[in-house]
Amino acid sequence: MQPHLKRAIFLLGVVIVGFIFIRSLVVPDSYGQYGAYRGDSVYENRNFTVEYAGSQSCGDENCHKTLYSIWADSRHKTVNCETCHGPSEKHVSNVRIMPSPANDSREFCGKCHYKMVARPSSFPQIDPESHGENLKCAYCHNPHKPWFV
């Protein structure tokens, strides 16, 4: 083999080896584990903290059992606890951490129950001007069991 060819082949070898070496440093270990992405990223996405515990955890373990059974039998049973009371996973894991009290303003109930054109007409809605004399809704309606005072 001619010396200039030898040199060229040697140089090519160095380039290939250099590429493999640098690639191994730059590409993360879990890349390509499941596809053309970093496999560890799946676990990172799974490990974010949960904020909403779910209504089941409110009724379980004799904490809010009575209130839970009243709610579970009411027309508001499709509305989960944390929809009004806010995320409470921290409270479930440590009862000393109290969630902020539920918003009992007319405006908050009105987010669902004020009359709106775009709402399905079968959904219970009120006209805030003519209904309730500006009293808080809970004055007459039990939010855990509407029409049960």
Partner: protein, 256 residues
Amino acid sequence: MNISRREFTKIGCRIVIGAAAGATIVESIISNSIAAEPSSTGDYDWNEHYWGYVIDTRKCIGCGRCANACKLENDVPFDEPVYRTWVERYRVLKEGEVKIDSPNGSIDGFTDDIPAEELKKAFYVPKICNHCDNPPCVQVCPVGATYATNDGVVLVDYDYCIGCRYCIQGCPYGARYFNKEKGTADKCTWCYHRITKGLLPACVQACPVGARVFGDLKDPASDVNKLLDKERINVLKPDLGTKPKVYYVGLDREVR
């Protein structure tokens, strides 16, 4: 042994490069053989699930609790107009014009600024990432920082994203946004940290009227499959061929 300085450097370089290359080649062979094994991600086997989402627009009351819960669950900046899910209001005026709005993603609710007499029809449409089977956002990412998992969820690798915003441009549904706090693109994950623990996504749990339904498409008895078998289903922009996995019940022709 007599050896010139040039010879010594030559041999030395070859040995060093050869050793490094040999080690990396062996290492890559080993790591490839590990990856080739069938893998389940912990106690949750993602090959047993394929998630789907059904939105019943006829039930939505536009209260915005979904968008609010999403921001609280996923640390989406509250003071910026970015949303992983939001509710749009469509109002078709009697003269034919269509008005679409979503003030603060519906979190603060809507106000009736057009009297009912001037409207032909009005309705709410919740929007969310469609987790397409053929996702354009994944195709355009130059660094492989967004991908579809085996259980059909499109996720972002927040460590690897360089924040070039191509995916935000590429999404035909406007479902992606730029998270200034993270400096990366961000999107709905169907609350991947919740669904892999057996919980429902925060928006589904927060919906007071059951307009949002989430479940496993591989399970014939799941809530989504019950609806898909019974109702008349449509998806958003089917002509684009993105194959969305968010199915809509009662979708109007005006909805884009």
